[in-house]
């Protein structure tokens, strides 16, 4: 009995020690990288003299504390505008998604070697370009204001909505599809009766999710002139009205929180 137990125990202990050694080495490497990076950023690259020292930094931060109550009535329209931008941006994006989804889903794409890669490329491009960049593109194309914001949100939303929907379509149960084909149904009918009912909860879920994210995006886009609360934020900044800036930030926060609440309940109702 002792002869069979001893080698087993020894092996387990050796494995354990090896694991601990490996973990310690890994932690040491990460710590070393972190120290080097922090040193470079905080000690070497930061101009502490210009910042004026810790006390000065605290004083500057302190100026932002406080709410500019007189600003509140002026926020009503921008809030509505931001919500409207997010909603319209999501809707337009969803409509523009349709051809992209058709191209980018393996089981319904017209060509696996040409159309499908094109579809996936369009999705990737949409998601790779940051919303601020999209906003800049459209502000220069159609001018300042919420139209630029709506178009920018639409273009940015295509990627995610199309990706999730296309993947949902690729994962449908094929048996109802087979049954519909066997009745002599056409392609569109097969899609409407066999595929759509299966993907509907996923599609509605992703639309609500994207709407929620678009509220945040539309608030930020205002910084580059695309309308909504972001524009108000920018105005307060250039007027050096620090409490005003804080007020706008809080309004954006409240809006995002509201959006999150609504989308949470909407998604529950749908799935």
């Amino acid at each position: 009995m002792a002869l069979t137990v001893a080698p087993g125990l020894g092996m387990v202990l050796r494995n354990r020690n090896l694991r601990l050694l490996r973990a310690a080495a890994f932690a040491a490497v990460i710590a070393a990288i972190a120290i080097v990076c922090l040193h470079q950023v905080m000690v070497v690259d930061t101009d502490w003299a210009r910042l004026g020292g810790f006390a000065a930094v605290m004083k500057t931060t302190g100026r932002f504390i406080g709410i500019d109550w007189s600003l509140l009535p002026l926020l009503v329209v921008p809030v509505i505008e931001t919500l409207m931008m997010a909603t319209l941006g999501t809707v337009v994006g969803a409509i523009l998604c349709v051809p992209v989804i058709w191209l980018g889903a393996l089981n319904i794409t017209p060509s696996r070697h040409l159309a499908y890669p094109l579809g996936r490329l369009l999705m990737t491009v949409s998601r790779s370009i940051h919303e601020i960049v999209w906003a800049l593109i459209f502000v220069s194309a159609v001018g300042l204001g919420s139209l630029a914001g709506i178009l920018a949100l639409a273009m940015r939303s295509i990627g995610f909505i199309a990706k999730i929907t296309a993947e949902a379509i690729e994962n449908v149960d094929k048996r109802p599809i087979e049954a519909m084909q066997a009745t002599g149904a056409g392609t569109l009918q097969v899609f409407r009766f066999a595929i759509m009912p299966q993907i509907l909860p996923v599609v509605l879920g992703v639309l609500i999710f994207e709407w929620d994210i678009n509220i945040r995006r539309s608030a930020i886009m205002g910084l580059v002139g695309a309308g909504g609360l972001g524009l108000t934020f920018h105005r307060q900044m250039v007027m050096f009205n620090w409490p005003g800036v804080t007020t706008v930030i809080l309004a954006i926060l409240a809006l995002i929180a509201l959006g999150e609440l609504l989308s949470h309940h909407a998604r529950k109702a749908v799935t």
């Binding site: 048996r175 109802p176 087979e178 049954a179 066997a182 002599g184 149904a185 009766f193 009912p197």
Partner: protein, 250 residues
């Protein structure tokens, strides 16, 4: 005249794969309830699916009412499929749709695309669907979602859907494999009854030989893609049955 005449049917599942059907020939008459039996891998399911080209045959002819299904174009195939009803092993219903919508889907081939997209089926179709559901005993479940039904009930929805097509031929692929023995008998009884009522010949793939001999008028025995037996049920004896099942191809 035979409703369906199949000559030298050959098929494989994928290009360059193993040949599943190796030159099968048979015919189905107007009043036949024809069972296709044989060991696993014999090609029973492939045979059924070749008739409406859910599986594309390699060669051979499949003549339905004088028209060779194997030769027709995609558009003509859609029209032909309208007249071939199919009942599936796993029911193949749209789970999130109501029983009513599932049965109405049987008319998709006949209703225009635009009308069907908005589910605006003609009144006549709706009345017929209700009649079918009543016939299969599901009139109390019309508005239920398909996934709220039991297995036997779902298969009956499948039967109603196939009958909605007013089919000239019923293809049945292992209708009872997903059901328990008692429900299996009920389903087979129902299929036999409606086939007689609506004067539709049936070609049924079934692996339960007992059910096959009890409900079907003709037997087609397949082994490894080759027809081993073709005749009335009464002519199928122990020896012939052993021949068909001699080689289990898994």
């Amino acid at each position: 005249m035979a409703i369906l005449e199949v000559r030298d049917l050959r098929a494989r599942y994928s290009k360059g794969g193993r040949e599943i059907l190796k030159g099968v020939s048979f015919s189905v008459e107007a009043d036949d309830f024809c069972a296709v039996i044989g060991p696993s891998g014999a090609g029973k399911s492939t045979l059924i699916r070749c008739i409406n080209r859910l599986v594309e045959p390699d060669s051979g002819s499949i003549v339905l009412y004088g028209r060779d299904v194997a030769q027709i174009s995609t558009r003509e195939l859609r029209q032909t499929r309208r007249h071939i009803g199919m009942i599936f092993q796993e029911f193949n219903l749209v789970n999130r749709m109501s029983v009513m919508d599932n049965v109405l889907a049987g008319r998709l081939g006949a209703v225009g695309t635009l009308r069907s997209i908005v589910k605006l089926f003609p009144r006549g179709d709706i009345e017929r669907a209700l009649a079918m559901l009543d016939r299969v005993g599901l009139i109390d479940h019309v508005d239920k979602r398909a996934d709220q039904l039991s297995g036997g009930q779902r298969q009956r929805v499948g039967i109603a859907r196939a009958l909605m097509q007013d089919p000239k031929l019923l293809l049945v692929d292992e209708p009872t494999s997903s059901l328990d023995p008692k429900i299996s008998r009920e389903v087979m009884t129902l299929i036999r009854e409606v086939a007689r009522e609506f004067h539709v010949p049936v070609l049924c793939n079934i692996h339960d030989v007992q059910l096959a001999t009890e409900f079907c008028s003709r037997i087609l025995g397949l082994q490894d893609g080759v027809k081993m037996f073709d005749g009335p049920t009464a002519a199928l004896d122990r020896r012939k049955l052993d021949e068909i099942y001699a080689m289990e191809v898994l």
